[in-house]
């Protein structure tokens, strides 16, 4: 849990994912499309991955990975991120973290 909290507080835009998960990959592409580069943490490549996954779920993410945190707060999984994006709420939320080149 501490590792999760540390990661989300240190970075504005964090995605907890699995390298083998194609839906996680789709979400990473989405962020790319809107011009942000999130910090991606692949839980299947982390020895504490399972605990971190459980910690993420305890924080309120009830869908399986990916889990997206913006500004230290849990936004949710693919469903929530897509809904947010379609309602126009995602871009303002990530604006502080957009890369300068964009």
């Amino acid at each position: 849990m501490e590792k999760v909290m540390r990661l989300v507080s240190e970075n504005g835009l964090v995605i907890f994912s699995k390298s083998s998960c194609c839906l996680c990959y789709a979400l990473k592409i989405l962020f790319q499309e809107i011009g942000v580069t999130p910090t991606v943490h692949e839980l299947d490549q982390d020895p504490e991955g399972r605990e971190m996954e459980r910690a993420v779920m305890r924080l309120g993410c009830n869908a399986p990975l990916p889990a997206v945190f913006i500004g230290g707060k849990l936004v949710g999984s693919t469903n929530e991120v897509m809904s947010l994006h379609l309602s126009g709420g995602l871009i303002p939320l990530v604006r502080p973290y957009q890369s300068i080149s964009n």
């Binding site: 083998s20 998960c21 194609c22 839906l23 990959y25 789709a26 979400l27 592409i29 989405l30 499309e33 809107i34 693919t78 469903n79 897509m82 809904s83 994006h85 379609l86 309602s87 126009g88 995602l90």
Partner: protein
Amino acid sequence: MLFFSSSLYISMYCLLPDFKLSNAYNFNLTCTKAASIISSRSMDFPSTLFVPSRTMGTYEPIHQIGLWGENFKSIGSPNISPSVIFDVANKLENESETTSHELLAPSSKYDQEASKPFDKIQRRLAQNREAARKSRLRKKAYVQQLENSRLKLIQLEQELERARQQCLYAGGAIEVGHLGISGALNSGITAFEMEYERWMEEQNKQICDLRSALNAQISDIELHILVESGMSHYLELFRMKSSVAKADVFYVMSGTWKTSAERFFSWIGGFRPSELLKVLVPQIDPLTDHQILEVCNLKQSCQQAEDALSQGMEKLRETVSATLASGQMGQGTYLPQVAMAMEKLEALVNFVNQADHLRKETLQQMSYILTTRQAARGLLALGEYIQRLQALSTVWANRPHGPAKLTVENVR
């Protein structure tokens, strides 16, 4: 068929007076065994034994006793022990007490007829009729059940044959022991197709209602009700799709329940939301500047989300392909690869759900952006667009081979 008709005429033997003794025996011979024994004797049976249940229930004690008595003798006791009788037959016997009682002593009944009071006789006859009627109904239900089981058996056999052929073709040794699962798959799909037919009927009705409502200039409040019905009707479709996707995601991906032109535009199991917007927006003019901006943003967000999902799907295809192609080829063994690919493929359900979620969200966002009247026109346009696609499928399927002629007949 002999199996089923055997059990039918087995059940008739219980009505013989001697077979009341059968209650005391253990019935351990299976149906098939009995059927084979009896069917070998089929030459002894007169054709009247094969008559449908309707006539079997009729009260004809003397005629029946004579018939069954002869044939029972011809079977001979060594081969047909009372243990051949089944629980079903037993039930029928127990509950048609009245009828068998009459069979026991037909002659005495007729002798005493004149001495019994008239209404007692009438009551007894009525009871008999009732018992016979109930017996007929039970028999009918039983036959129906057998017929259903038979159809199910044929269906399962076909599944098994198909799976076997696939195995033979592949040259592998995959165990085809999942008949139970494929049976469930089929019933999930059948249920969905039936529901979809009803959904489509309701959809067309709602489109008519919307059309007449918009032409009749009804109030916004009443129009709002129609819009809400339309929206929840689509939500119902997404719920149905989610359910059948769990049973068979490939079914949803292939869009089998839709017409060919609809399938042509299919994207991960349904409409591409941005395409939908392209169709709808011109139909709901005029829009305010603010609305135009919002619709524009929605279109862009849709496109980005669609791209992301499409690329995810592409990655999924690559992953499954790479997994299947891994290891040495040429030995004819592939179970580990197939097992690994199965795991990867499970993600497909997530993609279909995500795509449907996107479609749902697009519709909802549009309903927030638009006024009630605009939303009504949007739903009507969407409905009519689907109808046009369906009409296109029909006309295409019926086109003459040669230059296509759009006559009044083939546009119906």
